[in-house]
Each structure stands twice: as C-alpha cells, then as structure tokens.
C-alpha cells in the first residue's frame, strides 16, 4: 500500500454523521481513531490539521484531499478546473460560502423561471435548505428533511438538483460523487440543471491522483456503491454528428467552488 492510500485507509476510520461537519482538529488526531503514530503518516496528513470543512459524503467517509496542496498549487488547480469545466460547456463559479452558493442557485433558478429544487443527502447540500428556502421563492426538497415518497415525487418534477462532490479533478474537469442511495444519484441525473458544490479540500489535480480514492471507495465498502464521474452535462451527437445537450439528464452543469475554508487560512 502506498503512503497516499495509507492516509486514505486511516481517514476511512473516521465516523461520519452530520454533526461532524465542523469537527475541530483535535478530533481528527484523537487516539480513539487509531491513527498511525509514525512520522510518515503524520506528515502526509498535514492538510487535515488545518481548520477546514471536511466534506462528508453520504457513504460515511471523510475526504480530506489526496495529498497536501500548497495554496499556490491550489490556485493552479482551481484555474485548470475552471478552464476544463467551461471548455466542456459547464459553468464554473467561485463562491465565498454556502450563502454565496445559495444566492448563485437563487439567481440561476430565477433566470430559468425554475420553481422546484431538490437537494442531495450529503451534508453540504443539506445545509443549503434553510438558505434557499428562506425567501419562499422556491419549493425546496431536501433528502435529509423529507420522506422517501416526497423526495421521489420532487425528483420527478424538480428543475434544479443540488449535490456536493467528493472530489473534483482539475485535469479533466471531473466531479466524483459516490453514493449507495439512488435518490442522491438521481438528483444529479433527472433535473435539467445540476449544481455541484465543491469544497477546496476536494480538489485534486489529476485523474490518476483520484485513482486510490475511487479504488478504495468501492473496494473497502461492503455492499452496494455507485460512483459517478461527471465531467459535463448530458449530450449526444447521434444525429448527423451535431452536438445536442440534455438528451436524457442535465442540460446544464454548474460547479461552485466553496472558498470559505481557504479564506480561513487553508
């Protein structure tokens, strides 16, 4: 096992629930988590000792980025990601925090005359519920706060689906989202607009770097798991080689980079 995947294995042990979202650093280094105590692991874990938002995926696993990334590197990664997303016909936007994300979503919803928004079950998306629902402009259904029947109904009619991403790969402009509940996958597959929220800690530079995460996410889980790599909206060129967007799923993909943690000295 390489040192990078060793780090993964260790992070794997962290228990996951909504209230661990803003887990302080002491928690991450707590002995109860059976963290390897040797120097190698500690150094490769440097990134998580910063005050940061841990992106809690609904498979109960905390993702803290594949390896420590300096702020300068990170700026490069962000600009490459942004270029890739835009090149593939998506929209890339930096937002300061969840409030910024919610005002972006409000803006595009109003512009498209959208009325219904569904939020995926991951922690970041769930956090958005109150913010977007506040104005009373939209019918917002969150996976975390509604019954299965209601959520399924909402999925069928919503114009906008909001989820977060476990990882975002700059090289290919790819969002990696894992789940073992199809409700969450459908948030990114049924509505005409998909908005993905990406925390800075989820940035990796290449697909290769994301390899161990992909491999571990599936291998180490028992039972069902589905990982989606999303790099653009749904498209076809099956008629006369002409590109048409939104043939089955989203016509638009919006990637919102959450800058909050960076401004806190990440």
């Amino acid at each position: 096992m390489t040192s990078a995947s060793g780090c993964f294995a260790w992070v794997w042990l962290l228990p996951g629930s909504l209230d661990t979202l803003f887990r302080p650093r002491t928690c991450c280094t707590s002995a109860s988590l059976k963290a390897p105590r040797n120097g190698r692991h500690r150094s490769s874990y440097r990134v998580s000792t910063q005050p940061l938002i841990l992106n809690l995926t609904e498979v109960g696993r905390l993702q803290v980025g594949a390896k420590p990334v300096s702020r300068l590197d990170q700026e490069g990664i962000i600009s490459r990601l942004s270029a890739r997303v835009n090149l593939a016909g998506g929209h890339f936007e930096r937002v300061r925090d969840l409030k910024g994300a919610s005002s972006y979503i409000t803006k595009i919803a109003l512009a498209r005359n959208a009325k219904r928004i569904v939020l995926s079950g991951d922690s970041l998306s769930s956090e958005l519920l109150n913010q977007i629902a506040q104005g009373g402009l939209f019918e917002v259904t969150s996976y975390a706060n509604s019954s299965r029947e209601d959520f399924y109904k909402a999925l069928g009619v919503a114009e906008i689906g909001v989820s977060s991403a476990d990882l975002a790969v700059a090289e290919t402009g790819t969002l990696i989202i894992s789940t073992s509940d199809e409700s969450n996958r459908l948030v990114t597959a049924l509505p005409e607009v998909h908005v993905a929220i990406v925390p800075c800690s989820a940035l990796v530079s290449s697909l290769k770097e994301a390899g161990p995460y992909l491999s571990d996410t599936i291998r180490k889980r028992t039972g069902a798991v589905t990982v989606s790599l999303i790099s653009a909206s749904s498209r076809t060129s099956d008629i006369a080689d002409i590109v048409i967007l939104g043939v089955h799923g989203p016509k638009e993909l919006h990637v919102l980079l959450l800058e909050w943690e960076r401004q806190r000295g990440f």
């Binding site: 599936i218 039972g223 076809t236 008629i239």
Partner: protein
C-alpha cells in the same frame, strides 16, 4: 471457388452496388467517420504522453487477458459478496435464456436498454421482443436504429449512416404527426418519451465497458447519461458483458478509460462514467435494487486459446478503426460488418458468429494498415483479417482474379521484358476489354508504363562510392516501371556519402497478403529477410523508397516470421526520408537548395502506419520546397492491386474511396503532386489528371539542375 463462396461473393457485390449508389448515406457516413478520426487526432495532439498512455493501455489489456482466470474468480467473488447475482453463459442462446428467465421470474413487462455491442451480439432486444416484452433502447442513436428496424452501422455511433431528414421521417412516423427536421426538436421529443420509459421500467439492461476484479464493480462510459438512468431507476438491472472485459484494478481502468475516450470520441473524458456494484437503495421504495451480471463466453475462450487471435480480445470498442477505414467510410457497418462492424469486426465475427459470416465481408479490407495505427491498444487487425481471408479461401477456394494478382510479380516481369510492346498493347481498348473479360482487370484503369531498361540492369554497371554503407530494397515499381525513382534514391544517397549496394531480393509480397494468401507473402518475407539480414551483418542500413516495402520490412515481416533475424532487419530498415532526417539530425545532410514550383503532398497509408507522420514532408521543407499536405487521413483507395480489379470488385470501390482526395487536391489549384507511393501515384494521376512525382525524384531533379548544395 466453390458454390457457397461464389454465392457469398455475389451477395457482397450486390451490397457494394447498393452502398455505392446510396449517395445520401455515403455523405452522412463520410462526415461522421472523418469527423471521428480528426477529433481523435486533435485530442491526441493536445494530450501529453500519448505514447506512454497507449503502451500502458496495451500492456494492461495484455496482462488482463493473460491473467484472466485469476481476475475472473476475483471478480465473481467480490461481486457476489456485495450482493450481485452473477451468471455465466457459455454461448449466446444460454445468455438470452438467462436474461429472459430473470425478467420472467420478476414478471417484468417494460425493459429499458442502454447501448451494448454484446447485446447486439446476442440479438438480445429481438429475442426479448419475441418473448412479448416491451424493450426500449435509450441511447438516442440506438433508439433511431431500433425504430428503423436496423442494426447499428458503427461501433459507437449506431445511426452514423442516417441523415437528419431520414431520422425526422422515422420519428414523424412513430408519433403519427409531422415534426420539423431539427436535431434539437427530435432530441427533445426523444427525451420526453424516454423519460416516461425510464420511470416506468421494470428492468434495465446494460453492457459494461470494464469489469474490475479487485472490487467486483462494472464501469459504464456514456455521454448521454442514459446508462445512469437505466441503472438507477428500475428495480432490477442486468449487465451483460463478455468476460474479456474483466481487468484487474481501478487504476488500470482509469488508464484504459483515457485511451478509450481519446480514441473513441476525441475527448479527455466523456460526460459520464458510472462505476457501480451491488444494488443501491431505490429512490422509489428504499429497497435494495436487484443487480445481475451475465458474463458471456460465446467464442471468447476459443479466441483466447488462439495465439494469433488472442489480441483481438484487447479491443476497447472505441470505434477508431471504423472511422479511419477507407472502405468503411463508403459503406458503413451494414456492409462492412456482420454484427461487430469495421476492421475489428472481422476477427470478432470469426469467433462470435459463423466464420463464413466474417469471410464474406473481409474482402472489403484493402490492407492499408491504418486500423492498427489508430488502435489504442495496437491490435494487429490487418494480420487478423488476412488470416480470416486465408481460412476462408482454405474452405471455399480463391477467386481467380485474386490468384492472378497474388502473382503480380511474374506478370510485371513479363510486361517489362516485352516492353514497349506491353505498353502499346495495354493502351488498346480492344486488348483491355479482352483482359477485363478473361482476367477481370478493369479496362478503365490505366497501367503504369513498363520498361525493359530496369533499375537493376542500370545498377549493375553503376559505380558509386561513399563511406556509409546502405543496402537498397527497391521493390517492383521502382525497378521495372519507373527506374528514375531508383536512380534518384541512389543519387541522393551518394550525394550524402553513402555507398549503395543491392542485395538479392524479390517484391514485397504485399498484394498476396491483401487477398489472404499469407503463405506467398511469408515466402517473400523469408527470402527478403534472409538476404537483407546478411547485408545488415555486413554493416549496411536498409533503405526503401516504396512505403509498402518499408511497411513490410518494419512491420509485417517481423510479425509474419516472428524471428530475431526479421526483428534485426526491421530495426535497421528505413524509409529513405527517415534516413535522410537522421543525417540531418547529425548535421550531415546535403540537400539541393533551389526554388521549385509549389506542390501538394499526399501521405501514403503505409508511411503513416510506420512513422505516424511524413518524413518526406520534413525533408522537402528542409530543402525549402513549398509543399502543402492535403487534408486527408485515409487511404487513396488504390490499395496495391485492388484498384485494378474490375467493376464492383475493385475499380469502382477504389474510385469512390479516392473521390474526396481527388476533390481536395483539385481545389488546391496546384499543378504538381508529390507522394512516395507508386500506387497512390497511379490513383491520383488517374483521378485528377495531374502530374504526380516521387519526392526523391523531385529532389534529385532539383539537384541535377545545377543547384547550390547546402
């Protein structure tokens, strides 16, 4: 040829006739396939580390097939422990039965399907429909061919052969009302109706692009995202795939994914890649989804046991060979294909359908070698197709014209001996009519001029000197038809301080290979390699001026012979211009430097296959010649002796393939065309009426016109 062979040949000719006459389809096909090749070329040009990626990809597939037994067990164990129901099917019928029983046990009625070549191989949709089930293809292209009651015409673009108008008519008919001929509108209509099907479906059926042994997961690669809805909404999903799709790890999958997508659609990655294992919780009920994997053999283990055909299992189904293939561009997969389409379709049909099905359309391959060159895992498709042709002729016999052309060398020798009588005779329409009726050589195709003052005769009395030793592999044309090429090559080499020798040699044997007479080619290979290896031992580098000869020396002979000697000869063989560029890199190249009229340049396939670029173009530019490459990325259509065969068997197909090239050369408004290949020369001269010259001749003429030497 026996009766069955003759009937099959007749059927092929009928299909060729219909295909050639269908200009609307041809236009659609050409746009789609050329676009595909260009997109991949562009994407690879922008991708750093193409060679490393593709080497890795081939190695990964090779290892996966070598270790398939272990990977197979791991895959099944891991999938089953995650709750997947795994079924094994030894042949198509049992796979269909398995799928049917899963569906019937659940009492399912509506099936949604995503595109899968394995599904096509099984005729799965047709079988399910026969059993009274409602099956909806959800990939837009596949949906279109379903509505048209056709098969996919291309490995990854099923409706590539259809025009907007035809597709509009189809949907209008299905809806019972007229819709505007707009791709946007048609797509929107399809979205609406397919959405209802997704939501109501009882079972979703997919294939798999990769199956990962370490985790028991499968990977689906799509742009449309229909694969996501097929796998997320129905309570039961079934993935049907061949067992060659099993690879060892996720890391390997990511490498293969890059190669597949770059070669297939010319993108860094597709819109969606779905990795799935075990049934996730369903959105509607919260119950776990029931997931089945049906793993298919159907000839694959037989293919794996055959040392030659084993590598066909490396295929990633990217469709790049379909796009680049010169005859596929004219006919599409309905003629050039059985179920698996295009070049790789030939070996795959040989093993997954009846071998005679493969032998029937294999003659459409004209051995240009481009399929192997664009293949991300570098499968030796030309050799596999030649072997299929060989087996077919062993069963059904050979066409007499093919036998004649396989022995072209004795024909050329005779014509050369009796020249100029042969030239006179071959210009008489009466005699050409006679040849067409008796031998089957098309009367419209001009022959090259033969001469009895051959290059080899001239060279016997030629004295040259130089400190570097090179041996010239001259091949037939530069010897007996246009000795000026041979003389120019010797001249340019001697100008650069080379002492040229002419080892014992025969023609390359490529024409026999084209007709599946691999034995004859192997004989020529053995003879040439034996004598050239001697020359290499004496310290010579081997030079050739004919792209096909270079292709044989560097690519084909080593694969046919598999000997260390052949590898040595290959390593020391060069295209003339590759050798000259080598001298340039050492700072030793002497070149004429004088202004010449501007010329167009056509890159021969066999040069492209060996070097992936034109060395001649580089040398011409070094010499300051204003030479402009033609935008064209497939074969000119002549393919050695193929363009000489009469009518639909050769000439007419050959001219149809060359049409685009002729048009583009003509629109360049230049008077001179340069190309290294003798057959490209014949084809372009015939198609454009322009003067076509070998670059070596052009350069040597420049030099002889008393130029300065730089």
């Amino acid at each position: 040829m026996d009766d069955a062979g003759t009937r099959a040949h007749k059927r092929l000719l009928d299909r060729i006739k219909v295909g050639l006459a269908n200009t609307e389809q041809r236009a659609a096909l050409y746009t789609g396939t050329e676009g595909g090749t260009e997109a991949a070329e562009k994407a690879y040009a922008a991708f750093p580390g193409k060679d490393v990626l593709l080497e890795d990809a081939r190695r990964i597939k090779q290892l996966a097939i070598d270790h398939l037994d272990e990977n197979f067990e791991d895959f099944i164990r891991n999938a089953e422990s995650a709750g997947v129901h795994v079924h094994l099917a030894s042949d198509a019928a049992s796979a269909v039965q398995l799928v049917l029983s899963i569906i019937q046990r659940a009492g399912a009625k509506l099936i949604v399907k995503s595109k899968s070549m394995t599904g096509e191989e099984l005729d799965l949709r047709q079988h399910l429909e026969k059993a009274g089930l409602d099956v909806v293809e959800t990939d837009l292209g596949e949906r279109i061919v379903q509505l048209a009651h056709q098969r996919p015409a291309h490995m990854i673009a099923p409706a590539i052969h259809m025009t907007v108008r035809q597709i509009t008519d189809l949907f209008s008919k299905q809806l019972g009302k007229d819709i505007p001929p707009s791709p946007e509108r048609i797509t929107a209509i399809a979205r609406e109706s397919l959405r209802q099907d997704f939501l109501a479906a009882d079972v979703g059926i997919t294939g798999a692009n990769f199956a990962i042994a370490e985790s028991g997961a499968i990977i689906l690669v799509t742009n449309e995202g229909n694969g996501r809805l097929v796998t997320s909404l129905p309570p039961i999903t079934i993935a049907v795939f061949g067992y060659e799709k099993i690879i060892s790890s996720m890391t390997d999958a990511l490498t293969l994914l890059r190669a597949l997508v770059l070669s297939g659609v010319g993108k860094n990655i597709t819109s969606y890649v779905t990795i799935t294992r075990g049934g996730s919780k369903l959105a509607k009920t919260g119950l776990p989804q029931e997931q089945h994997f049906v793993i298919l053999d159907n000839g694959r283990s037989k293919m794996r046991r055959d040392p030659t055909f084993q590598e066909a299992l490396y295929c990633l189904r990217c469709g790049a060979c379909n796009d680049v293939c010169p005859t596929f561009r004219i006919f599409g997969g309905h003629v050039f294909g059985h179920i698996y389409t295009g070049p790789i379709g030939v070996p795959w049909t040989e093993y997954t359908s009846a071998p005679d099905d493969a032998g029937e359309f294999a003659p459409l391959c004209i051995s240009c070698g481009l399929c192997q060159q664009v293949c991300p895992v570098s499968i030796d498709i030309p050799l596999l197709i030649a072997r299929v042709k060989e087996r077919y002729t062993e069963r059904h016999g050979q066409l007499s014209i093919n036998r004649t052309l396989s022995n072209y060398e004795s024909f050329v020798k005779f014509a050369s001996t009796i020249a100029p009588v042969s030239n006179y005779m071959l210009k008489r329409q009466l005699f050409r009519g006679f040849l067409q009726r008796t031998l089957g050589l098309d009367a419209r195709r001009p022959f090259p001029r033969f001469t009895r003052h051959t290059f080899k005769k001239w060279f016997r009395s030629h004295e040259g000197s130089g400190s570097k030793h090179v041996a010239y592999f001259v091949d037939t044309y530069a010897d007996m038809c246009e000795p000026e090429i041979g003389k120019a090559v010797v001249g340019l080499l001697e100008l650069n301080d080379c002492r040229v020798s002419l080892p014992k040699q025969v023609g390359s044997g490529m024409p026999a290979f084209l007709y599946g007479d691999v034995k004859t080619t192997t004989r020529a290979a053995r003879f040439n390699v034996q004598h050239l290896a001697q020359a290499v031992q004496n310290g010579c580098e081997i030079i050739s001026s004919e792209p096909t000869a270079t292709y044989c020396l560097k690519e084909l002979y080593p694969r046919l012979l598999g000997s260390a000697e052949a590898d040595t000869v290959a390593a020391h063989s060069h295209d003339l211009f590759d050798y000259l560029l080598g001298l340039h890199n050492e700072g030793k190249l002497k070149m004429p430097n004088r202004v010449m009229e501007a010329a167009a340049y056509h890159l021969p396939c066999h040069t492209r296959s060996v070097y992936d670029k034109s060395n001649a173009l580089d040398v011409l530019w070094l010499a300051g010649v204003d030479v402009r490459p033609v935008r064209y990325n497939t074969c000119c259509g002549m393919a050695g002796t193929f363009g000489f065969k009469k009518g639909l068997e050769g000439y007419e197909v050959s001219m149809a393939v060359g049409e685009k090239l002729f048009d583009r050369i003509k629109t360049m408004n230049l008077k001179l065309v340069l190309t290294e290949s003798s057959v490209c020369k014949m084809q372009i001269e015939h198609g454009t009426a322009l003067k076509v010259v070998h670059p070596a001749v052009a350069l040597w003429d420049l030099y002889k016109s008393k130029s300065r030497v730089k």
